[in-house]
């Protein structure tokens, strides 16, 4: 077990190194134009540009820049944001709680609802309950987040006036964004749970459990659900990893100052240290979440460890 975990960790580190390298290359080498020039603005004098260039170390050879960048990164220093005029780490640390809250709440709510719908539709396979479930989930699965978000605002903020449109002050501000993301998540999980459950229900060990005379509920929740959850765990992990950096649209619609919006703003402001920091952190957290999923996986499914 511990060997398996160590091996997984050993794979994760080069991955993060590769991510940082790609980001570095994209920003310093592949980028058209001079970053110092762009950061200084159109009206900057050549001297000012030169100062910025020297300050950011752009005057040194690329390889040296890369090594300095790696050394700083290892020490937790991602440089200073041009726009905020403070360390990138600090800005991201302020934005992260919003994104994390949004992610955790919407994945929890969505997964719970999805599991319930998935189990019910699998158990009542090929009945009207199943049909309604299928229609509902394919519909929820298809609504793009940007439209769902706007429609929720239209109904609950503009129409009924019960929830705020934008901002972060209270828990009420999180209701609409969490709902927006949870709807898609629940549909995804419901579809997956249904097909996984149907497969598990047709296995021999479930038949054995039933033949032993165990109560239906017990067979479902104790025996079948466990194996049903295995593929669900992966997808939940991917959702968490994806939302930590990908709730861009939802954050922008509801005015949440999270990491996704920070990254988008940084891209449009050409705030290079900020783009670099945000993208690296988001990618690193994705790798990290996947690592955790792999470890959980090994706990729930012993077959994986010995593979």
């Amino acid at each position: 077990m511990s060997q398996y975990i160590l091996r997984r960790i050993a794979i994760a580190f080069p991955m993060i190194l590769a991510v940082t390298t790609v980001v570095f290359v994209m920003l310093r080498v592949a980028l058209p134009g001079d970053p110092a020039q762009i950061m200084a603005g159109d009206r900057a004098s050549p001297e000012q540009i030169e100062i910025i260039r020297r300050k950011l170390g752009f005057d040194r050879p690329v390889v040296e820049q890369y090594l300095i960048f790696l050394r700083n990164f290892a020490g937790g220093d991602l440089g200073r944001s041009v726009k905020f005029r403070e360390p990138v780490m600090g800005v991201i640390a302020r934005a992260f709680p919003f994104t994390a809250t949004l992610t955790v709440l919407s994945v929890t709510v969505g997964t719970t609802i999805g599991l319930v719908i998935g189990i019910i539709t699998a158990v009542y396979q090929r009945t009207w309950v199943d049909n309604i479930g299928i229609v509902l989930t394919v519909f929820f699965f298809s609504i793009p987040t940007f439209w769902l978000g706007l429609m929720l605002i239209l109904i609950f903020s503009v129409g009924l006036r019960v929830l705020p449109v934008q901002g972060t002050g209270t828990w009420r501000h999180f209701v609409l964004p969490v709902t927006t993301l949870a709807v898609g998540q629940s549909a995804l999980i419901a579809r997956l749970t249904r097909s996984s459950m149907i497969e598990v229900l047709s296995t021999d060990y479930v038949r054995t459990a039933r033949a032993k005379g165990l109560a239906r509920r017990r067979v479902l929740l104790r025996h079948a659900l466990r194996n049903t959850l295995i593929p669900v765990i992966t997808v939940v992990g991917l959702s968490v990893g994806g939302l930590l950096g990908g709730a861009v649209i939802t954050e922008s619609i509801f005015g949440l100052p999270g990491v996704g919006r920070l990254a988008i703003d940084a891209i449009s402001n050409r705030d290079y240290p900020m783009i670099q920091g945000a993208v690296i952190l988001v990618a690193a957290s994705f790798v990290f979440v996947n690592l955790i999923v792999d470890i959980i996986y090994a706990f729930v499914d012993p077959r994986i460890r010995y593979a």
Binding site: T145, F146, I153, L154, G242, S252, A263, I264
Partner: protein, 293 residues
């Protein structure tokens, strides 16, 4: 011992897998209905100039900000342009993004997945680690970044979406290739002296095709949403060109007064995505031997 007739009955032609799949798909009434609706919608989008009497770009100030009516079923926007016409014309951009980006992704990832799955070893490791790397980047942010680096236009949006769909497609193809590679008919082909290329493209690729069609259908709907998301955030097409995401972004500012500006373009995207997903699901069921028709 009873005699076994090994010669098939006259007239009973052996039916291929894809004939069976097609038959099973056509028996699914919901999917068939979905397919018809999608085709109708595609025709309306394709023949937008013939279907709508209005110009999607020109200002028509006297008729601005009109609520939905018989003349303008989806209402008009702040410049007096008919929203239904703009939705139909906008579909051209969105569908172009959806189909072309997925097409591009399929063309690039098919050989990659085949090579990775068939040869294994260094090729597999090399290709799949690069795919893992792409996957580690947050998709939409990566796309936004790529588009802002390459320049904000439709072609670059297509390239960016294709780029971040590569891992999904090549992983699928690799997985199926891995399982087919071990099958006896592949061994038989090899025994008969078939080369690697021949086995990959004539023996393995046909087996990959089914799941690929499913993923492509679902991929197109995903790509349409991704494209609309980018233009919702202000990347891609420039006004006054109508595009679904851009129209939504525009309508977002008038939710309080002109709700129709955001409702109808979004409803159209949802409808197209829904139809594509229904068709994709039905294709998957049709290809799955465990699902009864």
């Amino acid at each position: 011992m009873p005699e076994v007739d090994l010669v098939p009955e006259r007239g009973a032609r052996p039916s291929g897998l894809y004939q069976l799949v097609l038959l099973k798909f056509l028996r699914n009434r919901v999917a068939l209905f979905g397919l018809c609706c999608l085709l109708l919608l595609l025709l309306a989008i394709l023949f937008a100039p013939q279907v709508t009497p209005y110009n999607p770009i020109e200002k028509n100030t006297p008729e601005r900000n009109q609520a939905p009516s018989r003349l303008h079923p989806f209402g008009t926007d702040k410049l007096g342009r008919d929203i239904l016409s703009r939705v139909l014309y906008g579909g051209r951009v969105s569908l172009q993004v959806g189909f072309l980006s997925v097409g591009l992704a399929v063309i690039i990832s098919t050989p990659l997945g085949l090579i990775a799955g068939f040869f294994g070893g260094i090729a597999d490791n090399g290709i799949m680690r690069v795919m893992d790397l792409i996957l580690a980047f947050p998709g939409l942010i990566l796309a936004i970044w790529l588009v802002s680096l390459l320049g904000s236009n439709i072609n670059n949006v297509i390239i960016a979406i294709a780029f971040f769909s590569l891992p999904t497609f090549s992983r699928l193809i690799r997985g199926i290739t891995l399982s087919i590679r071990e099958m006896e008919y592949v061994m038989a082909a090899r025994g008969m002296g078939a080369g690697s290329l021949r086995i990959m493209f004539f023996h393995i690729l046909p087996g990959v095709l089914g799941p690929m069609i499913v993923l492509t259908t679902l991929g197109v709907s995903g790509a349409i949403v991704a494209g609309a998301s980018l233009s919702f955030l202000g990347l891609g097409v420039r006004p006054p060109t109508p595009e679904w995401g851009a129209m939504l972004a525009d309508g977002r500012n008038y939710l309080r007064t002109q709700w129709w500006m955001a409702v109808f373009p979004g409803m159209t995207i949802t409808l197209v995505v829904l139809l594509l997903n229904i068709i994709g699901d039905a294709l998957r069921d049709a290809l799955d031997p465990n699902v009864r028709a």
